[in-house]
Amino acid sequence: MEAHEEKPIIYTMENKPIVTCAGDQSLFTSLYTSLAQQLPRESMEWRRSYGRAPKMIHLEANFVQFKEELLPKDGNRALLTFPFLHIYWTDCCDTEMYKASVKDDMLRWQSTLRLHGSVDWLIVVVESEAKKKNKTNILPRTSIVDKIRNDFCNKQSDRCVVLSDPLKESSRSQDSWSAFLTKLRTLLLMSFTKNLGRFEDDMRTLREKRTEPGWSFCDYFMVQEELAFVFEMLQQFEDALVQYDELDALFTQYVLNFGCDHFNYGANWLGSFCAPVKRWSGLLLRRPIDMEKRELIQRGEASLLDLRSYLFSRQCTLLIFLQRPWEVTQRALELLHNCVQELRLLEVYVVQGALDCWVFLSCLEVLHRIEGCCDRAQLEANCSHTVGLWTYATEKLKSLGYLCGLVAEKVPTSEDLNRTVDLLAGLGEERPETVNSLQSPYKKLNEALSSVEAFEKHYLVSAMKKGDPERAEGFLDDSLRSYVAEGWSLQVTHTRKQMAECQKLLQQTEDYLQTSALLAGDANLTEEERKHFCQEILTFASQPPTVALSMAAFAQLRQMQFSPPGAVVHVGAALQLELRVRCLMPVAMQVEQLAATLHFSLEQGGARGRAGSAQRRTGQGPQGQGDGVVLFPQGSPLAGAGMGALLPPALELYEMQDRSPSDSSLTSTGVVCKNMHLLLRRHDSSASLDTPTAGALPAAVAVDDGAQMLRARDITLQPGDNSILFTAPVQPGSYTLRQLCGSVGRVQFVQSHIYPVVQYEVYSQEPQLTIEPLSDNLLAGIPQKVKFTIATGHYSVKKGDALQLSNTDSMPILHSSCCSATVLSSTGGHALSIQSSEKVTSISLPPTPPYHTLEFQLEVLCHIPPTPFKPDIERLTNGEVRHRPKSHSHADSGMINIDQKVSIDCPWSIYSTLIALTFYVPFKAKHSILSAGKRKYIQVCLQNVSDTNFHLADPVLTERQPTVSMELLSLNVKKQQPVCSQQSVFCLWEMRWAKPLPLCLQCAFSASFAPVSASDTHTAFKPYRYEFQLDRAEILPPSGDQHCRTGALCGLEVSITRQAEPSETEGEEEESTEIEGLRTTKLMYEVVDNSSNWAVCGKSSGVVSMPVAASATHRVQMEVMPLFAGHLPFPNIKVFKYLPHNAVPAIQPDTDSCLENDTISLLDKGLDDQGDTASIRSRGSVHSVGSGEQQRGLPMPRLEPFSPGQVFYWSQGRQVLVLPVTDDHVMEVNVT
């Protein structure tokens, strides 16, 4: 049994709820040990009031001897000393003895309790077999218990418990023990619930009175802390903590309200907290309860810091019991901040620096406390919780250092020293707990403040070393990068300023200048600061080492404007670039030279497609506009260049229209993204290098040397927008602006890339002459106008320069007085003088400056060739103009064209220019012979195939070799008649002749024609000639007879004439054979009569060898017999190529490359020279012959038909008169 101490026990952990013991003390003493052991062994559920969750609780008790003084008097609310249960112990088993003494004793005990209003009591009757055996005349044991119950527990029979043989190891003893303990626990909890509930009610009542005058927070604090103590005693740390948190919140609320309204808020008790702070010894967390401070609070003398310190130390203790050390650090930081604020709010006087000391000490104290209860690994894992405290301590130490003159270069002044002494005095004596610790916060602070060296030692340990620019620069660089990347402009500026300092100390001239340049252009700085940095640059600029800096810091490109806007000029023209630059410097800068480096490329393809490329160039840049302005994209002003680097470039969208080429109708339209390559590319880490401002150290800027440059010298760049004019050089080629470099003394500002791409072109053009018809088609035969266009290019046409046109007979140049030349882009016409000699026509040109266009027109006439020319053979040497795309109709109507070549000598070239003009013959003539009985007429049909209407006059038909026997009688009446477009005119002549008629008649048709529109009809008439040849062909009757007769044999002469020599390819194919120096090819002929008019007698087919020479003729005599009378058509003759057996199978020869015209003339012939007597084969088939031959053996000769057009049947369609036989029976035959 422990002795009860008078003084309240405060070390609550050792404290237990008090239970008093009355009655038989020796009995209790014997049971005490097992009771104390067994009571906490099982937990009980504690049901709580106010809806709080029930808790399992292990009960312990401090059993003390009952004394009346222990019972609380009225008004004493000390809970720790409150006896929660009163137990009366007795082992009386003797009725006599009970009646004699025990009952009275119990009555007294009961009345004392009742007097104090305590109803928590229990009577324990201990029974033992030993005692019973001693007394023989004992009553049944129940009787004593019953008596007691009867006497004392009138309604609460459970207040009396029997404990049987407690010291024995029997099951009965065990049972009674457990029943007793359960009872004891239940009663204890009931008492707790009841008494704590009452206490809490009282406490709440007290709290509600807080607005009344005279209420004291300190008093209330003591009351609620009592409750906290009890909870702590019951190991309900959570509940205990809640009590302190409530106190904390209440106090905080008071301070806040008080701070808001000093005068109307009736919290006089706060006055004590507003007293000047005299001690700032920091938190003390090493004791569970800081009794010193508690007493101060109890006496109402605590300062705010005392109260807060005490409160926090209690919270800290509980939190550590609860294994929540990290909450301690978090709360500590809040507390420290809060205290500083509260002192400020309450306007408490604090010695300058005192709070810093307090915070510093407190931080370290908390950290030490935490370190004391955690191992190293735990600490490291939770450094995020302690870092705040470390930082705060560092900050405070730093400010203390400044305050006491320990940081400055100079030694502390006496004022500083005085202040230090004052501060140290406020720390008081070191607490006994830490006296032996070498690293105590107290010692640390004391030492740090004692001297500059000691301060540095401590401060450098806790913070990053200052005065080490090299390391600092690295750190600054890192943070600057992240600020720039994230676009925090103020931080960027600030960090840059610090960096500039470092770089200056480290003498990193280039970096320093770059940073200075950035700072000088930084709008976040004041004008003075900017000027300072600008001046730094200028100072360095006058010193030797040449430094290249990024232009971005110095100036921004805004726009560039070309004049002329197309940015394409020819050699010798002026091209000006106006560059708009926004100078970021705060003062006007004298720039000795601003040079734009050019990339020069000699673009191939010279003058062609100029207009197209200019179009492309101006439309190319994203900001490119039609007026030759290139805008440079600007970064966001807030984020600076960093934003631009991070954000993807804006979409450059263009409208796209797809029109069909034929009628330019819209087939599709859409939007095209032109900078897809930029948007879709992988974002790599090096992307930020593009923008020199992104990093603290911009990528080294390389000055491009040796390239061509645009220069502007001695410019003054004013802050803001400036305009600089460059004049571009004149060598032909394509120029791309690469770099921009401005020199200020030795400092060069370089913009290493210019984006968007800025290009211009200087071109040189060769002089060029083109001749084109003025109308759609040039017509042959009448004068036509052609336009000469000379693009002078780089050539300057001087006076006396002339075009020399070589004359041709077929196309004379017509001199016209109205000929004048026009120089485009200059006014007025210039007369052309045209002089012709025999060979050349010379046109003298007016003087024309380079890059101008000279135009004039000439009239030319192309003679129509007289013969019925085989179209396109002679003159068409280059087949390109044959079908001009615009003259479909003419091609359809078979308009014959003539390509006339003109050779021109130009003054700028030693070579002649050959120009082809295509003329079209407007007419097409045909002739035919018409017969009427024995009369013959010649008809000439003249068709106008052109689009022009003509007048035709004087059609004349003549013989070329006039023969007397021949007379041509004109039947044409009109002398002149119109020929409209696509119409024909027919002229007719009758032929009269005297015998004998020549075999061949060569005629020439000639007429004059003039366009209907021509004003002067007579002079404009131009001749048209058409020559043709008529060949006579006749079937002669058998000799001795005038006419063929039916049934009589007639001779048939087949005449095959080679019209042209075979071309090379055909010669090879036809396997010509050399016989006695004469080359021949073999032909097979066959006489076929499909209409059963003739019967071929004897041999109907054969093979002939044709000499390879033009107009070689082979004649074959055959016999035929007409079967009918009347005009019978000539029998058909078929001609085939006869290929020997070894010949290669021929490919079909080109029809138009070689024309072979075989003429077969059929002549009546007698039967006399018919050698072979062969059966009449009227319907022989060549193919069957061929196939029959082929069946005999493989190496057989083959027959191959001629291509269409290769064979001309001269006698096609001709007829021969067959007279009927006079015999009647023949008639009958005919009839049948």
Binding site: E334, H337, C383, E486
Partner: protein
Amino acid sequence: MHQVRLQIKGSDEARYSYSIDVQISAVLQYWSKPKNYPLFIRSVPVQNELKFHYTVHTSLDVVEEKISAVGKAMADQRELYLGLLYPTEDYKVYGYVTNSKVKFVIVVDSSNTSLRDNEIRSMFRKLHNSFTDVMCNPFYNPGDTIQSKAFDSIVSAMMVQAS
């Protein structure tokens, strides 16, 4: 001893942040595409703006930390309001994160006692609403600094009210 280095780690999510200081009250808002990028920042005491910027910038780390801590537990229904991010002697920094990870930060002078948790909460809610309006503007490019007058006036009103 310890050196505090603040680095804002970027993630792929777009993140916005936002901050108000009120004593004198300042609204700062930040956006970050790959990183923490200011979208809008405003502070009333202009003379000490740099300090606020640093404060806001630093507090973004805490926001990050809180988001990732919450993310593990229940990413879906997390509270947008992050509460007091970290206290300093002079200022209280509150954080708020939208579901699209836009961060709002309000920095309040510690001595301003009229702004408690509830007031800050409602300020954030207002900011969020206004920010949503800004985002709804079809002419607003997400990621650009906010130049909306409506947003600006709401922020200004809030700051006047708070100070």
